[in-house]
């Protein structure tokens, strides 16, 4: 099996507080996976461990990718720089910048400063910055959380469309059940702290799930039961 990330007995504590307990996960290349769990269960901590932003964990993580992008929960754009300059901050390659902006449909907004962009556009800029490094994997830390439904759907469609074209691995953490159902090919449901996987759902047999379909609603109902 061609893996992008593999963990073995991954645990993470902050002082005496055990946040993640003994996680064993395999994430395949070009796969879209989502970690779903209640607020404060340690999803972001898990993502930071998987991406290497946190290194003081116990257990093992094998990262079998070379280039990673990160779509943060908040856009983290440099407020005094234009969108274009926010991207030149990461790379000076104009072609890559142009291509990324086109992919997220922001090519007409290169000269705009972040404050002039809507929340959804800022998150697409956040995605453009991740795409610029031509990643093998992108980590998504609840990128849809602060968006209205319309922007949320638009961003998710953009992510899925580009992921299908470019075939990078996508790892999403979220507490939005519908987002996870629509986005992922595999969903891991995490328990409350200390976090461990209580259910793995394979979505690969499902046809394209829609945000408002009855199938999505059924999944939502089923997943909610695990929360309780």
């Amino acid at each position: 099996m061609d893996l992008a990330v593999k963990t073995h007995s991954l645990s993470k504590s902050f002082g005496d507080l055990l946040v993640i307990r003994e996680l064993n996960i395999d994430i395949k290349r070009s796969e879209r996976v989502a970690f779903l769990g209640p607020s404060g269960c340690g999803k972001t901590t898990l993502l930071r461990c998987l991406s290497g932003l946190l290194t003081d964990y116990s257990g093992e993580i094998q990262r079998r990718y070379s280039k990673a992008g990160f779509v943060f929960q908040e856009p983290r754009l440099i407020p005094w720089s234009s969108l274009y300059n926010n991207l030149t901050f990461v790379t000076q390659d104009e072609k890559k910048i142009q291509r990324s902006l086109e992919l997220v449909e922001l090519d007409a907004f290169g000269n705009h400063h972040p404050s002039k962009l809507s929340g959804g556009m800022q998150q697409r800029a956040n995605l453009a910055r991740a795409l610029i490094v031509e990643p093998d994997i992108i980590f998504f830390d609840e990128p849809f959380q602060n968006l209205d439904l319309k922007s949320n759907i638009k961003l998710m469609e953009a992510v899925k469309r580009i992921q299908k074209q470019q075939k990078w691995t996508a790892v999403l953490v979220t507490h939005g059940i519908r987002e996870a159902v629509v986005f992922a090919q595999r969903i891991f449901i995490l328990s409350k702290k200390p976090s461990h996987i209580i259910k793995e759902i394979d979505m690969t047999q499902e046809k394209e799930t829609d945000f408002f379909s009855t199938k999505t609603a059924e999944y939502e109902k089923m997943i909610l039961e695990y929360y309780e």
């Binding site: 943060f72 908040e74 983290r76 440099i78 407020p79 300059n85 901050f89 490094v133």
Partner: protein
């Protein structure tokens, strides 16, 4: 619709009214000359060719002092903002600089350079330095650590992080230092010229005081105050122009 007189014009009129009433009550131009007398004196001093060169000299010294203070203070402020240890090393010196009265410098400065242009510049630099250092250090400390983390995630070179995040973050603090410095430097320059200078508004005020020409003291002082206001006004205009052009989104 009836147009309202701007409040600042009302304020200026009130100021002149108080001044005028005070001069009428005291009725001695040796103590408080009237606004009219002072205005006439300003015109006379301009015609005598004394006022404008003095103004230019004070302006040049002030700008030089500010420039030197920025050149020295900005890097020190940046390092102070980054390194807690360096901040502790520098803090006592900056505290002494901040609390030291202008006159305390003068005896040493006069011994070193005598009466001349160096003393006012030196005193402007020592007065502005702690203000600039603290402001810049504050700017560096206010940097969003999430932006720095983002930069590390994308392995952005340190030089670019410094240029785009660190310098970008300190710009508003740098501008506010300059804004505050403009008023302070002007006052300090005139005091330093008064005591150890050889040219400028301060020395003209000193001579006028020596000969008890109070209207001349008021004339030069009024010009100094007006020039200070004008300088701050022009700086504010410059900032808002930058903002409109999109260079100063941080403001």
């Amino acid at each position: 619709m009836k147009r309202r007189i701007p409040d600042w014009i009302v304020g200026v009129c009130l100021l002149f009214l108080f001044w005028w009433i005070l001069s009428l009550i005291i009725n001695q131009s040796l103590i408080v000359p009237s606004p009219y007398e002072v205005f006439v004196k300003i015109v006379e001093e301009i015609q005598r060719g004394k006022l404008l060169p003095a103004l230019a000299m004070t302006f040049l010294k002030s700008i030089e002092g500010l420039g030197i203070a920025l050149l020295i203070g900005t890097p020190i402020g940046i390092i102070m903002g980054i390194s807690r240890r360096f901040e502790e090393w520098i803090r006592p010196s900056t505290m002494v600089l901040r609390s030291m009265p202008v006159v305390s410098w003068l005896s040493s400065v006069i011994v070193i350079w005598g009466m001349g242009w160096q003393a006012p510049i030196f005193i402007i630099v020592t007065t502005l330095l702690p203000l600039i250092i603290y402001n810049i250090a504050q700017g560096v400390k206010s940097i969003d650590v999430k932006l720095i983390e983002m930069a590390h995630v994308y392995q952005v070179p340190n030089a670019r992080i410094f240029k785009q995040i660190y310098l970008g973050s300190i710009v508003p603090f740098l501008l506010s230092s300059v804004r505050v410095s403009l008023g302070t430097m002007w006052k300090v320059a005139i005091v330093a010229e008064f005591m150890a200078g050889d040219s400028g508004l301060g020395i003209e005020i000193s001579w006028a005081k020596f000969y008890l020409e109070t209207p001349t003291v008021f004339a030069f002082t009024s010009v100094a105050v007006l020039s200070g206001f004008l300088l701050e006004f022009l700086f504010d205009q410059f900032i808002s122009l930058m903002y409109k052009k999109g260079y100063g989104i941080w403001t």
